[in-house]
Symmetry: C2
C-alpha cells in the first residue's frame, strides 16, 4: 500500500535534556493506518503528531482491545541507524493481536512504514544528546459503538520517543519487591501478549512496592504464587553456581526479545544457560547458601537492570555488593555493542534503516 507523508509545518524545539524523555518527549510525526471489515488495513500515513477524535463509545475504552510493541533503533558511531530485531517485534505484535482478536497486520509492510517514520524524524535521532530511539507501534479498537465483542474497526498508530541514555559502565542495581498477593497472569490468560490490560493490573502492587523504595515488582505464577515469572517490563535471569537460569516460556510470561538475545549471547560466550521453572524458595535457598551470584532484569526499555536486592516477605536478599555483576556486565556490554554496531553482529539481528 502506498504510504502518504504529510510533514509538519511547525517542528518542535528539541529539548536540551533527554534524561526524562522516555514517553514524555515525542518526535514531530506519527504513523496511522486504519482497519475496517470492508477494506482491511488501509490508508497508511505519516502525519504531524496530533490528536484523534474519539467519542466515549469507542470500543477500546470499554473492552480493552489494545496492544502495543516497543522496539529500538540505535545510532552507530558512523551515523547509521540500526533497528534491533524488528521482525521479531512485528511477529510478537501479531501474536498479541491474535490473542485478543485484533486483525493482524502485514509484518513487512508495517516495518517499512515504521522505517519511513524514522526517516521522517531523522533529525531527532541525529541530535548528539540522543543515541537511541524507542518506537511504539500500537493498535486500538476504534469502532464507535460499544458491545462486548471484538470490534469491527481498528487504528494502528506508531510514535517515536528518545530512548533512555546509554550508560557504558552499565546501570546501577535496583531493589525488587516480590509480590505475594496480586497476580499478573495465569496459564490460558493474556500473559504472553503485550496487551494494555496486562499493565494496569500491575499498578497497585507496583505502587505499594514504590512506596517502600523498590523500583519494580517481581511476579510469581498466578496459580500457586510459587514460581518466578517476570517483572513489570522485563524478564528475569539468575546466576546460580555459574549457571544462567531464566523462567521458561510456559504460557504466562512475555517472550522477551532481550531475553532471547541474551540467551543466545550467553551460550556463545560459553555460559551454561537453562530455561526452566524456578521457585522463589529455590532462590532463597541459593541466597542462603551463597550460590546466588547475580540476578538481573532485561527488556528493550532498560536493556539490563542488575538486581541488588530482592525482597520476599521478611526475607531481604542482597545480591552482589551494590554494583553490577561480572556475568551481567559481560552480557550487557556484548548486547549493547551489537545493538550499536560496535562489534560485528553474527546473528543478523540488526537492520539498517
Amino acid at each position: 500500500m502506498a504510504l502518504t507523508i504529510t510533514r509538519t509545518q511547525y517542528p518542535k524545539t528539541k529539548p536540551q535534556d533527554y534524561s526524562k524523555g522516555f514517553g514524555n518527549i515525542l518526535t514531530d510525526h506519527m504513523f496511522l493506518m486504519d482497519y475496517t471489515e470492508a477494506e482491511g488495513w488501509h490508508d497508511p500515513r505519516i502525519l504531524p503528531f496530533g490528536a484523534l477524535a474519539l467519542t466515549p463509545a469507542t470500543m477500546c475504552f470499554h473492552y480493552g482491545q489494545e496492544i502495543f510493541e516497543g522496539m529500538k533503533a540505535y545510532r552507530t558511531e558512523d551515523g547509521r541507524l540500526l533497528l534491533f530485531r524488528p521482525m521479531d517485534h512485528m511477529r510478537r505484535l501479531n501474536h498479541s493481536c491474535e490473542r485478543i482478536c485484533i486483525p493482524q497486520v502485514c509484518e513487512e509492510e508495517l516495518l517499512d512504514y515504521l522505517k519511513e517514520l524514522l526517516k521522517t524524524d531523522l533529525d531527532w535521532i541525529q541530535d548528539s544528546n540522543v543515541d537511541s530511539i524507542y518506537i511504539r507501534p500500537m493498535i486500538i479498537a476504534t469502532e464507535p459503538v460499544f458491545g462486548a465483542r471484538p470490534a469491527k474497526d481498528y487504528t494502528c498508530m506508531a510514535m517515536l520517543t528518545p530512548g533512555r541514555p546509554h550508560i557504558p559502565k552499565g546501570p546501577k542495581p535496583v531493589r525488587i519487591y516480590v509480590e505475594k498477593e496480586q497476580a499478573r497472569a495465569v496459564r490460558g490468560g493474556t500473559g504472553t501478549a503485550k496487551c494494555a490490560g496486562n499493565y494496569a493490573s500491575t499498578f497497585a502492587a507496583q505502587a505499594k512496592a514504590k512506596a517502600q523504595g523498590y523500583t519494580q515488582v517481581l511476579w510469581l505464577d498466578g496459580a500457586e504464587r510459587r514460581y518466578v515469572e517476570e517483572m513489570g517490563q522485563m524478564n528475569i535471569f539468575f546466576v546460580i553456581k555459574g549457571e544462567l537460569i531464566t523462567p521458561d516460556l510456559s504460557g504466562t510470561i512475555l517472550d522477551g526479545i532481550t531475553r532471547r538475545s541474551l540467551l543466545a549471547i550467553a551460550k556463545d560466550l560459553g555460559y551454561q544457560t537453562v530455561e526452566r521453572r524456578i521457585s522463589i524458595q529455590e532462590i532463597m535457598t541459593a541466597h542462603a547458601d551463597g550460590t546466588l551470584q547475580e540476578a538481573f532484569g532485561c527488556g528493550t526499555g532498560a536493556c539490563i537492570a542488575p538486581v541488588g536486592e530482592l525482597t520476599y516477605g521478611e526475607c531481604h536478599m542482597n545480591i552482589g555488593n551494590g554494583s553490577i555483576g561480572t556475568v551481567t556486565f559481560t552480557l550487557f556490554e556484548r548486547l549493547t555493542q551489537i545493538q550499536r554496531g560496535l562489534v560485528p553482529d553474527p546473528y543478523g539481528w540488526t537492520m539498517e534503516v
Copy 2:
C-alpha cells in the same frame, strides 16, 4: 461541584426500531468530568454527545487504565423513572478504580450528575418503544505521555443507550460453552473489577464458541480450570435438588448486582440458596442423575438468561425442555416487577430520578 449543561442544537432523529439499539443507539448528550493531580475531580459537565481529542500517547491506549459500570433506569407505567440500585453501582465503580489505581470519585456526586444526564435526555426514555435506559459511566487515563505507571490525568464519562426490550414471558434459553483452555481471571488478578482488560481477554474464546452456535462462554477458575466462575457479562446460578447454587465471591468473579438481588429475592420467596464453590464435575454428575433442574445467567444487560444447553468438551447437557424453568421465571418476574415499580420494593433498591 457545579454541573454545567450545554444542550445540543441538533437533536438526533429517534429510531423506529430499538431492537439492535444496545450500545449502538446513543442519546443526544454525554457527561464528562476531569481529574488532575492539582485539582482532583473537577469540571463536571453535560455536553452534546461528541468526540474527545486524544493523541496516540494517551495513557489508556497503552496500559489499560480503563474501568466502567453498567446500570439501568426503568420507566414505570405511570411515567416515573426508576434507577436500580445506583449506589451499589457507584460503589463498585470505586472498587474497580481502586484495583487499577484510578483515583476514586465521590459516589453521591457522580450519581447526581448521572441523574442530570438522564433528565437532559428524558425525551429518549419517554419514547413508547423504550422502557429502560442503560447508563454507562466510565473512567479512562488521559495523561498525554506514556510510561508504565498510574496516569496523572483521567476523564470520567457517561453515556446513555436504550436498554434491551423487555420480554414479559421471559427470555428464550441460550446455549453456553464451557471454556477449558483459556482463563478469564485468577485470585489476586483483576477479576472482581469492571476493567477493560478483563473483556478483551475473553473475546477469543467467545469467538470460538459463537462459531459453534453458542451464545456465551462459561469460565472456569484460572488456577485449576475445575470450578465454575461466571459468563461474559453475567453471573451464573444452578438449581440442583431444589437448591439455588451460585459460585461464591472468592475474589475472581464480579460481585454482580443482579446476582446479589436474586439471592435476596430467592431467600424471601422461600428458596434454599447457597454461595459456594461448585465444580463443573458436580454439574455433570447432577445432570447425569437428573438433579440439575435449571441454570441461568444474570446481569444488568440481559437481566436473566436461562441456560438451555451447557457444553463441556464432549458432554452436552440439555437443561429444561427449551423453555425457561419455574424457579428462573419466578425470580425473573419478581425482579423485573420490582425494577419497573409494578410491585412494592421492600428492599429500597429503586431510586426515582
